[in-house]
């Protein structure tokens, strides 16, 4: 194998046999699911329909996919495994240097770009459904990244802190009429308090055990929200939550509203743009704080904790405090995001804080590459933005008929994208870890010092 082994020839017989077996299995599986369909006619009798063409189309599709896998993807994966890891090319470094300023410029200019291209009427949808939605998940991803990516504590109940933030804002704003700007830090503080509360019992747990306990914690919070009807109004949720104001100026059509004060014609777009920049600022805050913390002892301790807890302790790091601060910081940003969410929606209910949310946020962190902020941001854009774009694919109706609703397939595509990313990059999109410190001056070492010592 020394002389760079040639790619293995594809065994055609085996590939065909595999495809046949796969098609057969698909047939067996989908015969009852797709092949037969029962409908009730006008007399309310059950009629058994057969759908052979559809069934065979599916079987053929799966069979050919398997064939394609044997002939194309498998050899490619094997080839890739054989090739030695190459140093990243120089152009990659250049791209990496410019990509961040470019991305920042783009997100800052995004509302203007949308206004210019989509027009005033459709812009709200693009800024709100797409921009704000993605940014919320970028922020949540960055927050969870502190806990999972940096400190290595697998947290499956992250949405609990998001919920705490949202309900804190909703309840306090409705009951006491405090403004968004007072409640934002308060919601963050409350969420981080709950983070510490969760942290204490799970201090000694790691990995799978920690995951299960945090999962349970997330469910507990949701079930309390459902059942404590006096406080939270249960399933019905909380409505007409006060919206954030522009430093005291509300976004409404009144005479003292934002539009009137600034002499503009009233439009809901001003609030949307304001909310966009608000969540953008919150997301930047998260990224900035995380970046700073990574260079401070506490951030370094998080990363060291992920690697080796015993070594940390013997170096004088208080691992208890280190874990608790990771939980608290992560929870605080979820709390910020939660109170923003409540203020943006004006309505919250326990439905928004299901395990699926935690799972989505965790997928974003894992797919992005644990610990990489850029990776997490890209993953959030792909996963959340991608599924939002699904709503827009009206042309699919031409292909699949007018009853076809692409949004129903969001989760299917979500899963498919995840599988593909994991085949392509098993350790996430961005795996290189940026050192938190580099030596500025490169000292020249005399060569006699470098040589192996001789006794």
């Amino acid at each position: 194998m020394a002389s760079g082994a040639p790619a293995k020839r594809v065994d055609a017989v085996r590939a065909l046999r595999d495809a046949g077996v796969t098609a057969l299995l698909t047939f067996g599986l989908f015969l009852p699911l797709i092949g037969f369909q029962t409908v009730t006619d006008v007399r309310n009798d059950l009629i058994l329909n057969t759908r052979w063409p559809l069934l065979f189309a599916v079987v053929a599709l799966v069979g050919f996919s398997r064939l394609a896998y044997s002939f194309a993807i498998e050899p490619w994966l094997q080839n890739r495994a054989l090739k030695p890891a190459v140093e990243p090319a120089a152009w990659r470094g250049k791209v990496a240097r410019w990509i961040i300023p470019f991305a920042i410029g783009f997100v800052v200019a995004y509302p203007a770009i949308v206004l210019a291209t989509a027009g005033f009427g459709r812009a709200v949808k693009w800024i709100d459904n797409f921009g704000i939605q993605v940014l919320i998940y970028v922020m949540l991803g960055w927050g969870l990244n502190i806990v999972v990516g940096l400190a290595g504590l697998l947290d499956l109940g992250y949405v609990a802190f998001y919920a705490v933030g949202a309900y804190s804002y909703a309840l306090l704003a409705k009951t006491f009429g405090f403004s968004f700007w007072i409640l934002l830090p308060l919601a963050g503080t409350l969420a981080s308090f709950w983070g510490i509360l969760l942290g204490f019992p799970v201090l000694r747990l790691r990995g799978d055990y920690l995951a299960i306990v945090t999962l349970a914690f997330g469910e507990i919070i949701r079930i309390v929200l459902i059942n404590w009807v006096d406080l939270t109004n249960g399933y019905a949720g909380i409505t007409s939550i006060p919206r954030p104001t522009f430093f005291g100026i509300p976004f409404n059509a009144d005479d003292d509203g934002f539009a009137a004060v600034f002499g503009l014609e009233y439009s809901p777009i001003y609030r949307t743009i304001f909310l966009y920049y608000l969540i953008l600022a919150l997301a930047f805050l998260t990224a900035f704080v995380t970046m700073r913390l990574r260079r401070l002892p506490v951030g370094r301790a998080w990363e060291a904790l992920r690697e080796d807890e015993i070594a940390c302790r013997s170096l004088g790091i208080n691992t208890t405090n280190t874990k608790l601060t990771a939980f608290a910081m992560g929870a605080m940003f979820a709390g910020f995001a939660g109170s923003f969410f409540a203020a943006r929606q004006g309505f919250i209910s326990p439905d928004s804080f299901t395990f699926l949310e935690s799972a989505t946020i965790l997928s974003i962190v894992v797919l992005g590459g644990m610990g990489s902020q850029i990776g997490v941001a890209i993953a959030a854009v792909v996963m959340i933005g991608g599924t939002e774009i699904m709503r827009e694919l009206d042309f699919l109706k031409l292909v699949f008929g007018s009853t076809f609703d692409p949004t129903q397939y969001r989760m299917l595509l979500f899963g498919l994208a995840m599988v593909l990313i994991m085949i392509w990059r098993p350790r996430g999109l961005i795996t290189t870890r940026q050192p938190s410190v580099v030596l500025k001056e490169r000292k020249a070492i005399a060569s006699d010092l470098v040589k192996e010592g001789h006794g």
């Binding site: 301790a301 790091i317 870890r433 010092l449 470098v450 010592g453 006794g455």
Partner: protein, 241 residues
């Protein structure tokens, strides 16, 4: 004579119900190199870890620099300037060499960081070359140097080294032993060393202890122990060169 830097008195340590240390007495004086030798499973690493409070001693007493540390949490013991390069090295593999060293300096005075860094990099020039390489990609010997260097960054008064020569080529073992000697001679560092490489360790150390099955069975100066027939037959046969 002044009181020893480290005093271990009738310490018993348990793993569950199994007694791993069965009443250990041992002293390390300031400025000494003391070595502990013994067969696999004798309890040497357990003693090292017990001194650091992980696991705790169930009975007995451990004193360090005049303080009773028997019940202290590990991280507070470390802050008293007792550093350990543990068995299995336990370096942070995804972090760079420099970051590892920085982690070592957690309890140290930050204003001395530069000076300490220069010191360990002069001691282990190989680390200087690898300064921005990730710890996990270092060779075994380099990882061992890093583990020692990281412990040194804490400006320790007492350095515990658990089998620094494990799995290393004789040349690298020599380098590491030379480094220990230099540290002791030039910086007055006190070293407590666990070794399988009994011959080298006893030659290097001022004093040595022999551990068998959780007991200390013999002690004396390095030279004395080297001359003992029991030691020769049990630990030195074939090992000398």
């Amino acid at each position: 004579m002044t009181t020893p830097l480290l005093t271990v008195r009738s310490v018993k340590t348990f793993y569950g119900r199994v007694m791993a240390l069965k009443g250990v007495d041992l002293d390390v004086n300031e400025g000494e190199i003391v070595t502990l030798i013994g067969a696999n499973g004798a309890g040497k690493s357990t003693l090292m870890m017990t001194v650091c409070g992980n696991p705790r001693a169930r009975e007995g007493m451990i004193d360090f620099a005049g303080q009773n540390i028997t019940r202290m949490p590990t991280h507070e013991i470390a802050r008293l300037k007792l550093a350990q390069s543990p068995e299995g090295r336990r370096i942070f593999s995804r972090m760079t060499v420099l970051e590892n060293l920085q982690m070592g300096a957690t309890t140290a005075d930050p204003s001395h960081f530069k000076r300490d860094l220069d010191r360990v990099l002069t001691l282990f020039p190989r680390l200087q070359q690898r300064i921005s390489q990730r710890g996990g990609t270092l060779s075994g010997g380099e990882q061992q140097m890093l583990a020692i260097a990281r412990a040194l960054m804490a400006q320790p008064r007492l350095l515990l080294l658990d089998e620094p020569s494990l799995g290393l080529a004789p040349l690298v073992v020599r380098q590491i032993f030379d480094a220990i000697k230099t540290l002791n001679a030039e910086d007055g560092l006190t070293v407590f060393l666990v070794e399988q490489n009994a011959y080298h360790a006893l030659k290097l150390a001022h004093r040595g202890y022999v551990m068998v099955n959780g007991f200390i069975t013999m002690s004396g100066t390095g030279h004395e122990l080297l001359e003992r027939p029991e030691i020769k037959s049990a630990y030195l046969e074939g090992g000398r060169h």
